[in-house]
Symmetry: C2
Subunit: 438 residues, 2 copies
């Protein structure tokens, strides 16, 4: 029966000679003449195999990197081997032979490889243990996000990604040929999550793809991304949402620390401090712009008039220095910067917020309008017409609790935790203007 | 501080008079002259409120059904009230007034309402407790599916839904205008889950939308559905997959029994027996067709030549009668009925299977080709050209373990567990040829 490579050093702890069976990928081959060292990779890690007879593939050729083999042998303690143990191979079988001229070196140092090469060769680059680790971390982020919300009585929802129009405004939508008409790919589950809060579920979450037809290509944007959405009823203001996100991020950070130290270490990263979200300051938009602008001027740069990427970095630096947290919440965004459905706190400001983490916006959220009257009065300010908003109108006319929510960009959070330079690195199969394969 | 309606009977157990605060939807109003009974609905259930003064909305009008209110009052034991307790209202506030002429009666008996009416009024029909219950059950199905697979070392993946072409063959694809070219909406994550097994993750799962541009409208089909996908490496045959699905379904059934008895009871359903998957027989395609055909003839119908919907019902009846399980696995499908990537067991048959549950196919799966040579030889049989299959070719040339997987249709499983006549009932916002709203 097959065991995993991670179990070898445990077995070696009880002495050499135990017979074992392993299966996996040929990660590295060192032919020393009489003896051949093969590093075998499986889902749990790496182990060294020692062949006293040159291992050949079924056609009698040399074993190739990335081929799939099963091997039977005996565990041997060897302090010089990685993990302090190796397996003396007695027999092996090649289940699938990889071609010898693979276009990407899986066992190489990816810090020397450009992102385009990594993405062009995605099927192979995902095999690199450091790159693979990104997605083990991401899986735990999604798991912890979902588990925390379920523990708070949230219901997981799965809403349609084919919609009749955008709730965020009409631009940046991909069109789909849907039988004899055109529909759009959803930019967010905004309308649906509000409708489901109002359906009586009160608290809902969804982890699903979202689409933005943005033409520009930046290290911060993806045309298709995984949106981790939250919405809940009976809130007072955006402060309730900020509190929820504090608890949510703390749980995610805790779970990463518990489950992903090995993967994080490959990126010289550690799980963020679960205490950081509690310590994160809340600063209003106006003050945040002023603070970032002052920091920019002090650093020899120009004044800032908005929370642009540079300001996001300054604000996280400030928060880390002054509050011991690389997370900062900015609230009270001006109405002109927020979608029509945002709940105003006064004539110009809104009950909305962003979360900035390690220099990048990872969350946008806010309280939403729940009054039909306010909705009708707001539409013209945003150039929207009531007749185009009939579903929203029906929702608000049917009895709708005060509510709000937020969305965390899954790839952005993953990227900031690992310190990835480009959010595309945190997408299994990223889509940008030029890339839809593989 | 607000409490939930489900807590009222508990509080009443310790005696009357306790002050409480509730919030929710006005589910029902009975004006008895001097006294008004209002049934309040929240995410946890219903409770009766007793008003000695007629409750009015902020404009002084009569309180309307589905309006959102908060209420303060005292718990009173009342054996005649549902749950044995009610709340004597002392003050209340209307947070959002529903219009009096709502197009759908939320508190009505939905067994008398047609599906089109239910779906046309989805924002309101989802508020009906019986309809809402469908999606609480569905959320637990997704949670249990994910938890079971994580416990078996599977990694959750999120793959792109924008693809360059179909892996199942070229028809039934929706086209997306993607900047200056056309791409397709993924019919399944087939290629990606195989690539991720081969990436070293070995065991992956995904719960995500899948798209089929099928023109016909049946009670079994959705144009957008939630696919619960599984794929794993180092299997021998489809029998390993069947065993995995047995354990997976048993866990889902167990969790439903533990968490959803109330929701299931609304549909006169109970959680399926967690022992049923273990007892489910495996019958090969040829025998299954013969058996179903014989049953059809015996029932006064015609012969059957395929596993059509009628045959699916016959086979589940047979399994229930002979094996005490409404689940049956059919394996060894002919090659002509399966996609090119299916692993053949001989010249005409494949290592593939379907799972039929309570008369409906809920799963399709199988072992896949992992040999490049077999892949190249297979393509012409399916009218496919190697030059159109370069990503698949690269995957199989890079070293690929023997592997396989399956997908469970989330809406289909939900529908069969609850006994819903149409799979659309189990989709929050179903999409069909005519329906893309709301």
């Amino acid at each position: 029966m097959r065991i995993l490579t991670k179990d070898i050093s445990k077995i070696a702890g009880t002495g050499s000679g135990e017979p074992v069976e392993l299966a996996g990928w040929v990660h590295r081959i060192r032919d020393m003449g009489g003896i051949t060292f093969v590093v075998l990779r499986d889902r749990s890690g790496l182990v060294q195999l020692v062949f006293t007879k040159k291992p050949l593939d079924p056609q009698g050729g040399a074993l190739t990197l990335e081929s799939i083999i099963t091997v039977k042998g005996r565990v041997a303690v060897n302090e010089k081997a990685p993990g302090g143990a190796e397996v003396q191979a007695e027999s092996f079988e090649c289940l699938s032979r990889a071609v010898p001229d693979l276009p990407f070196q899986v066992n190489g140092d990816i810090s020397k490889v450009g992102l385009e090469t990594i993405l062009d060769n995605r099927i192979l680059s995902l095999r690199n243990p450091k790159i693979n680790a990104i997605f083990k971390v991401q899986a735990v982020i999604i798991e912890a996000f979902s588990a925390y919300l379920r523990s708070k009585d949230f219901t997981e929802i799965k809403t349609s990604k084919l919609v009749w129009g955008g709730t965020e405004g009409g631009t940046e939508l991909f069109e789909v040929e849907y039988f004899d008409r055109k529909v759009c790919l959803a930019q967010s589950p905004q309308f649906y999550k509000e409708a489901l809060v109002a359906s009586g579920m009160e608290r809902v979450f969804e982890v699903a793809p979202a689409y933005r037809a943005e033409k520009h290509d930046t290290p911060r944007h993806l045309n298709e991304y995984v949106s981790m959405d939250v919405e809940l009823g009976f809130i007072e203001s955006e402060k309730d949402l900020i509190d929820l996100e504090r608890g949510l991020l703390a749980h995610i950070f805790e779970e990463l620390g518990r489950k992903n130290s090995a993967e994080l270490a490959l990126w010289n990263a550690a799980a963020p401090d679960p205490g950081a979200p509690e310590k994160a300051p809340v600063i209003c938009y106006e003050d945040a712009v002023k603070l970032a602008s002052d920091m920019s001027v002090k650093a020899g740069g120009g004044r800032l008039f908005d929370i642009n990427p540079e300001a996001e970095r300054f604000l996280c630096e400030w928060s880390a220095r002054e509050h011991g947290s690389e997370l900062v919440f900015v609230n009270e965004f001006p109405r002109r910067y927020r979608p029509f459905y945002t709940f105003p706190s006064d004539a110009n400001r809104t009950m909305s917020f962003d979360a900035l983490f390690k220099g990048l916006e990872i969350t946008t959220g806010g309280k939403r309008l729940h009054s039909y009257q306010a909705f009708v009065e707001t539409l013209p300010r945003f150039g929207l017409k009531l007749e185009d908003m009939q579903n929203y109108a029906a929702l608000l006319q049917s009895g709708c609790p005060p509510h709000g929510g937020f969305a965390i960009g899954c790839e952005r959070l993953t990227a900031r935790i690992l310190g990835l330079a480009n959010v595309k690195e945190a997408s299994l199969f990223p889509r940008d203007r030029r890339r839809v394969e593989p």
